[in-house]
Symmetry: C2
Subunit: 241 residues, 2 copies
């Protein structure tokens, strides 16, 4: 008898990463997609819910029966102003963690970002490791540092497995010098997320980028602790063009 | 000619620490006290302002002309619920940092807490150093981790000197086993805060406790980088009784 597929809620599924996961992970998991307001026409046939993460009651029912949550919903702009960061990223992330806990969900994959550590880049002080003190480069980065701290608390306090992925630059292909070191390819993104869903680890913060030869962030932990085996490298991508 | 005294705003000055600072630092600085709602009768004669830190406009004028801000205002309960943590500690702290920046204040002393690292205590994994990854033991602790990350951002981005003090247990005297290692005496508290105001350091996170022989937190950095010279030790206090 086949093992039951895990039920996975993806918040913010209308975003670029959410859409990619919807197509790449639907064979592996039973997906439920969360959208903020509008249901995209091309995703309408998939199981979905609509709600504002800043409004607890509007999203709480979406967590019932889920085995895992991939929390992508956020204002992803590095220049996002405080009011938006506060509602979408801080209140929204608290609501997602709390709704997951209340519904008995035992796994949360939190989409964090390199911007939690962006100020190290200013000093060209590389590589940056995930255990170093945070140095956010924006209110967006501060809000993701908050999410990581909240995740640590939910993991320690409630025994929920929380994996924070500091996602680099998610693009179909690298486009310029910066993307040479921070690129995360679509298939590597899908892989690192399902590895995070599958791990038994209680908590971890990991850089999530492709195996770019010119990377500035350490992915040793991502490979050793999550089993991540990236298939892409921005340099190979350029060489093949 | 005597040097002009620095002008220092203390937020949340009706609290236990704020009251102590008002009496111990008024010779050293020109103080302006901030109260949330009620002006205590015994402090009414001192320069003061009233406002809710969660309401930017109500507190912004208080920052005009200040050289430094000591930000104590918060819901200090470790069991504080999310709504209170959100407004008093997260929105309130953002408003304080932003109002300070807008007013040109170049120094912020942020009252953080050992509860940012409280989950290390559960494993009795001591000493805890301030550069270790955060492990908050409460939403209160998470909100203070947020404040530290925000402080790092304001220091890196705007060149404001931000000193975060992880204050132990502020008490007239130690009362029990736990206070033997986490006690911060009133005079040591006043000292560590004026040391933080006076330092040229751009950013730092420091444990702020007395020189308790049985301490579990490292204060080497507090002594070496801030010049803190604690005068009290809970063991001596007990021995003298």
């Amino acid at each position: 008898m086949a093992e039951r597929k895990k039920r996975v809620l993806i918040t913010g599924a209308a975003g670029r990463i959410g859409r990619e996961l919807a197509s790449r992970l639907h064979d592996r998991y039973e997906l439920r997609l969360h959208f903020h307001r509008v249901v995209p026409d091309d995703l309408r046939h998939l199981e979905h819910v609509v709600g504002d993460v800043a409004d607890y009651d509007s999203i709480a029912p979406a967590f019932e029966g889920m085995d895992a949550v991939v929390h992508l919903a956020a204002d992803p702009r590095t220049f996002a102003p405080w009011e938006s960061v506060l509602h979408a990223n801080i209140i929204g992330t608290y609501n997602v963690f709390e709704a997951a806990r209340q519904a008995g969900v035992r796994k949360i994959v939190f989409a964090s970002t390199n911007h939690v550590m962006g100020m190290y880049d200013r000093d060209q002080q590389w590589p940056v490791y995930s255990h170093q003190p945070v140095r956010p480069d924006s209110l967006y980065g501060v809000s993701k540092a908050f999410g990581e701290a909240l995740g640590r608390y939910y993991a320690d306090r409630y025994g929920i497995s929380v994996i924070c992925l500091r996602i680099g630059w998610f693009l179909p292909g690298p486009t310029d010098e910066i993307s040479r070191w921070m690129w995360l390819s679509p298939r590597d993104c899908a892989q690192v997320i399902w590895r995070a869903i599958e791990t038994d680890l209680g908590f971890g913060i990991f850089y999530a980028i492709s195996a770019n030869s010119q990377r500035h962030w350490d992915i040793t932990d991502t490979m050793e602790k999550l089993g991540y085996r990236p298939e892409d490298d921005a340099e190979r991508y350029f060489a093949s063009k």
